[in-house]
C-alpha cells in the first residue's frame, strides 16, 4: 500500500487539470439541461487521453483518476466508458461508447459509434448507423439518446466471461465518474452555504446544515477510495462495492445539495443540476443498487 502518486501519475493528473481549466465554468448564457463539451472531447482526443489505460506506465488507475477529475467539470463528454471500458472490449471498437440497458434511453446513445446493448444477463456490441439512434429530451444533464425500435444494427453477443468483465469495468467507470460529480455537487453547495445569509449569518454556520454536508463529504470521500481501489485491483468484488457505494451516496448527496441550495438549485442558471442530474442518470446503471448488491453477494459473499 502506498497512496503517493508516482511521478507518471502526478504528471498525468497535472496535465488533465491543465486541460480542464478552460472548461471549469459554466457559460453564463447557458440555461439548458446538458452542457456538452465538444471542445473538451476534441482536446482529449488530440492528446490521446482516451488511451491512457493502455499505456503501461499509466494503466486503468490513471484512467480512473482522469475520469474523476474531468467529471468535476460543468461540461460533459463521453469520457468514462472510453477511458475505462473500451480497452476491455474484445477487439477494436470506435468511440464514443454508450450503453443501452434493457431498451432504455442512455447517455450519449445518439452520438455513439459503439453501443453496449444490455438485455437481461447478456451484453452485445453494436455499431449503430445514424438512423438507428435518436436524441431524446431529458432532465438528465447528459445528451440522452435511444436505440430506435426498428433499428437495423447487428449486435454481436459477448461471451459470458467477456460480459462479466465488461460489467465489472462499467461499475468502475460508474464509480470514478460519480466520485467527481459528488465532489462538484458538494463544492457547489458549500459555496452557496458560505455566501448566502439568513437570520443575519451565513447558512453554513447552522449546525443542522453543516452536519448534513459533512456526512455528504464523508460519503464522497469513500466513493473516491473505492473507485480508485477497484480501478487498481480490477477485482469484481471491489468494482461492485464501488458501484454500490457510488449509487448509494449519489441518492443522498443529490437530495441534500438541492436542499442546501433551495430554489436557487432549481434554476437552470445555477450549475448544481449539471452534477446532480448526472448523478441521477447514473443511479439506474446496471440495475441500480439492487443490481450492484447482487454482484456484491456473488463476489464478496460467495452467493452463486
Amino acid at each position: 500500500m502506498d497512496f503517493k502518486l508516482t511521478s507518471d501519475q502526478e504528471a498525468l493528473v497535472s496535465a488533465v487539470d491543465k486541460l480542464a481549466e478552460q472548461f471549469a465554468s459554466k457559460p453564463t448564457e447557458f440555461h439548458g439541461f446538458a452542457l456538452a463539451g465538444r471542445g473538451l472531447e476534441q482536446e482529449l482526443e488530440d492528446g490521446q487521453y482516451f488511451d491512457i489505460a493502455q499505456v503501461p506506465e499509466l494503466g486503468p488507475l490513471c484512467a480512473a483518476l482522469a475520469v474523476e477529475r474531468l467529471a468535476r467539470l460543468p461540461y460533459t463528454a463521453e469520457i468514462a466508458l472510453s477511458m475505462l471500458v473500451r480497452p476491455q472490449l474484445p477487439g477494436e471498437w470506435p468511440r464514443p461508447l454508450a450503453v443501452v440497458e434493457n431498451g432504455r434511453p442512455g447517455r450519449f446513445v445518439a452520438t455513439a459509434k459503439t453501443l453496449l446493448v444490455i438485455e437481461g444477463d447478456h451484453i452485445g456490441i453494436a455499431q449503430p448507423g445514424a438512423s438507428d439512434v435518436e436524441a431524446v429530451e431529458s432532465l438528465f444533464a447528459y445528451p440522452m439518446g435511444q436505440l430506435q425500435h426498428k433499428h437495423t444494427c447487428k449486435t454481436e453477443r459477448l461471451s459470458d466471461s467477456d460480459a462479466a468483465n465488461i460489467r465489472k469495468w462499467l461499475r468502475v467507470a460508474l464509480a470514478a465518474e460519480s466520485s467527481g460529480l459528488l465532489q462538484s455537487a458538494i463544492a457547489s453547495a458549500v459555496d452557496h452555504l458560505s455566501q448566502r445569509k439568513q437570520f443575519g449569518r451565513p447558512l453554513g454556520t447552522f449546525q443542522a446544515l453543516r452536519h448534513r454536508m459533512a456526512e455528504c463529504a464523508v460519503l464522497a470521500g469513500g466513493v473516491r477510495w473505492l473507485a480508485l481501489k477497484a480501478a487498481s485491483t480490477a477485482d469484481a468484488g471491489d468494482a461492485a462495492l464501488a458501484g454500490f457505494h457510488a449509487q448509494e451516496s449519489a441518492t443522498r448527496v443529490a437530495y441534500d445539495t438541492h436542499q442546501m441550495l433551495a430554489a436557487m438549485g432549481m434554476t437552470l442558471e445555477h450549475p448544481l443540476h449539471l452534477w446532480t442530474y448526472r448523478l441521477k442518470a447514473l443511479l439506474s446503471d446496471l440495475g441500480g443498487r439492487g443490481g450492484q448488491a447482487l454482484a456484491i453477494a456473488e463476489s464478496c459473499f460467495g452467493v452463486t
Binding site: 464523508v218 469513500g222 487498481s232 448488491a293
Partner: protein
Amino acid sequence: MDFDWDLQQQAFRSTVRDFLAAHLPSDWESLAHGPGSESQSAFSKKFCAQLAAAGLLVPHWPERWGGRDADPWTAFILAEEMWEAGEPRGGQYMNVNWIGPTLMRFGSEEQQARYIPPMARGETIWCQGFSEPEAGSDLASLRTRAQKQGSSYRINGQKIWTSYAGHAATCFLLARTAAGREGISIFLLPMQTPGILVRQIPSLIGEGDIHEVFFDDVEVPESALLGNEGQAWEIVRTALSLERVGIPRFALATRMLHRAVDTLRQSGRFGAGAIEQAARARAACEAARFYSYGIVDQRRHGVAVGPEASAARFATVMAERLVSEFVVEHAPEGLSGRDPLLLAHHQRAVVAGIASGAAEIQLNLIATDLLRLPREPR
C-alpha cells in the same frame, strides 16, 4: 499510488495471524465479551506478555523502548488483526498506541523508566481519566482539581465513563491546576493511591467496561506531573494525533458481517432485502478501511494528518452502525446466546460514535476544516 500490500507487509500480517492462531484458546470467543471483564483482563495480561516476547506488542516503538522502529503500516496491520480477532490485548491497546509514545515525548526520565518498560513487556493496564459528569465533549470544562501543597498535589473530583479503571494500575489523569483551558495538567496516578474509589457502571457495552472514579484528597508527589502545569492541552493534542487513525473497527465489523451472512445463507434466509442491506454495510466497511489506510499512508510519508482523520472516524462509525443494524434485523439470534463474538461486536459498536469523542464533534471538524464552511457562532 499502489493498492497492493508489499511482500514485507504480507509477511508481517501472516506472522500476526499465525501468532493469533497459536495463542488464542479455543474458548476465546466467549472470553472476548467485555474487554474490561475479570476473565479477559487476566487473559490479556498473559497474552500481551506473549506478544511482547514475540516482538509483536510494540514493533513501532523505538528500539530503546523495546520496539524496532517499524513504520505506521506495521502498527496498523497489527491493530487490524488484533481488533478483527476481538482485541485480545484488552485495554493494553491504549498503552501501545498512545500512552507509551506520549510518555516517550513528554515524560521525565524517572517517569519513562518507571512506566514504559512494563508497557513494553505487556504487564500493565492504564485507564484514561478524561470525561467527567459535567465535561464530556466540552472537555476543557473539567472540574477535578489538583492543588499544589509543598512538593505534592492533592486531587479532588470525579471522573466517569472511565474504561478499564477496575483493573488499571495507573491513570492518565486530567486535572485542573488553574482556571481555563491553559489551567489543565496531566498526572500519572497509581490507582492504588489512598483516596481513590472505583465503581463499575453496569452497561450495555460489557462487563467491567465503564466506571466512575472518585478522588478524595488523593495525594501525589509533584513527580507525578507529566510535562509542566497547564500543558495538558498540548500533550493531549499530540496524544490524539498519535491515535488519529483510531481503532480499526471496520475489521471486526467486516468479519461479523460475513459471519452473519453465512448464518443466513446456511438457513436459506439471505433474500433480496438482506442482500441489499449486507451490500450497503460491506461497502461502508470497505470505505472506512481505505479512509483509515489513507491516514496511515499520510503518517508513513510524514504528512501532517488533518481533518481527513475525522472523516475516517465518521466513516468507521457509519460502517459499525450498518453492520450492527444488519445483525439486529437479520440475525438477532447471535445476540441472544448463540454467538458470543457477534454479541461482543454489537456491544463495541454501540459506543463507536461515542467513545474517544462524539461523532457529531467529528462532523463539526469536517465542516470547518475539510469543507471550509464558516464556523458556528459560540
